[in-house]
Symmetry: C2
Subunit: 133 residues, 2 copies
DNA sequence: ATAATTGCAAACACTTTGCACATGT
DNA sequence: ACATGTGCAAAGTGTTTGCAATTAT
């Protein structure tokens, strides 16, 4: 694991355990956000531990929760550049996409016209990937 | 219930039942998308019936599923104009918002550069409402 | 040494299934 | 009459809790 992350974890009062390291590794390798179920299948560990660990990593800011609206929560590293996902309705392939226009202007408009201070947003696109069209 | 909807329901082979009518009424009155739990608290009906009914109405296209990422699925009438939500992280108030720039252009770009045909998207904003800032 | 981490069993919450009965058309 | 809708009990999933044992620092 990268020295930076190790240092950051220690500063958060988090120990460098096998499970913690493996979760971060698995998410680092994965090209798409993973469910608890998937992570569990990759590590020989009790499910309670995974749920607790993900909670810790989420709260400490290492992970982002991603929701594809299918009833399964997914997680990805928060260190990735800001991006959204293209989720294929048919084969469930997931691609990343970076918007040409950010939503930053929209968020500013919302702040002015709705008197609502936007902290973050969730945006995912659903449709058919190249192979499934 | 509006004649239009009654006609539409009948054409879909769906009967005009008390439960069905009440669900549509409740969602019509509500200013925000509702959870199954909330709908159940408003109607004296078995939970199984609600789950089944929402599934039917979703598939028939009368409802949209909305996800605020808190683990609870919410539903709203699909007859509403296309809009997104501003969800307050603190008091959980929900406002509707219509973007000045649609995501239509982005979806076209995605179609060209990613060869991915977008069918729909999910977009919700999270932050602090007027009162909670 | 001691605070953080883990496993296990049990509890919880949400959702679905099978089947018999009831209702709308 | 008959297809659609409903209630009930039970089963399925995903997630959390309490507590005792273990591990990293």
């Amino acid at each position: 694991m990268q020295d930076e992350i190790v240092k950051s974890l220690k500063e958060s009062g988090l120990k460098i355990t096998t499970v913690r390291t493996r979760i971060l590794e698995i998410l680092n390798i994965s090209i798409k956000p993973l469910t608890v179920h998937k992570i569990l299948s990759e590590i020989d560990v009790n499910k309670t531990t995974i749920y607790r660990e993900i909670d810790i990593l989420l709260k400490a800011g290492y992970l982002n929760k991603v929701d594809f609206g299918d009833g399964n929560k997914r997680y990805e590293l928060s260190s990735l550049d800001h991006h959204h996902h293209l989720v294929c309705i048919k084969c469930h392939a997931v691609e990343d996409v970076v918007l040409k226009e950010t939503l930053f202007n929209e968020e500013n408009l919302i702040s002015l016209t709705n008197k609502f201070k936007v902290s973050y947003h969730n945006l995912e696109f659903f449709g058919y990937c190249h192979n499934c069209q």
